[in-house]
Symmetry: C2
Amino acid sequence: MLLTIDLDSEVPIYQQIRDRVVEAIADGDLAEGSALPSTRQLAADLSINFHTVNKAYDLLRRQGVIRINRKSGAVVRRDAGSGPPEAGFADEWQARLRTLLAEAAVHGVNTDEAMLRCEEVLSSFAVKKGTPA
Amino acid sequence: MLLTIDLDSEVPIYQQIRDRVVEAIADGDLAEGSALPSTRQLAADLSINFHTVNKAYDLLRRQGVIRINRKSGAVVRRDAGSGPPEAGFADEWQARLRTLLAEAAVHGVNTDEAMLRCEEVLSSFAVKKGTPA
DNA sequence: GATCTGTTATAGTACTTCTATATCAGATAG
DNA sequence: CTATCTGATATAGAAGTACTATAACAGATC
């Protein structure tokens, strides 16, 4: 199974799908240019309606993460992080980072600990990025 | 104005209030033990219904960020980050950090850049934390 | 032609968000 | 004591979101 979702989560299903796909790309589990399952296929695998998958894919497309063609279906963009992907992405992203880190700070996570967590996560991406040996 | 919200945002108002309060605490703008405006007062300031503020405060209380008494109203907890605040907070938080950092990675932000952003945000907290001179 | 794909339309249920009132109780200031 | 502030709670409605259920169409593939 490429993807796992939690039906009991507060996070909407289509958002979970988006998050898992983005993480899979960062991890290197989904290589650039590779195809995602068809909306109906993934919906069947997850036992959900295909419109929900459609919404997730449409979100990924609007965010510049994937391309969707009638021919090849949904494929991971090869140039997802090139050019000006989305105006104001960096600012909006840092605002969310700020909120997330503030939350940790308030819960007693000190600066060093927080940095460690960030390094930990980021290095888990880098490890797999150079996949071919 | 202690707090600014964006009525055009996709983020629910009560969530925005929660986020701004958490950030204000991390920044040191809201010291531990200090009081938040009353729900009716803040609602009037923001020109929204007091139930929406109530929901935000209730969320902050359930997350262990503030205490609410009938006497003193809502005050920032002095021991917000001590003991076991919420079971599984760290795990859930790191999962969200992972999603956020993956998003940056997919948009072409490399590891060094991402770390720099994290440092930047975290140091902006630390600067104000030792407020009294 | 049958079957896969994405695309689009319609529509209903359930839930969330926000607003609007109203009421009650405790604390406080005049 | 009365007026007014506070939080707490109940109810209800409007608008939007999330998800599901069908259905139909067009292009690609076998």
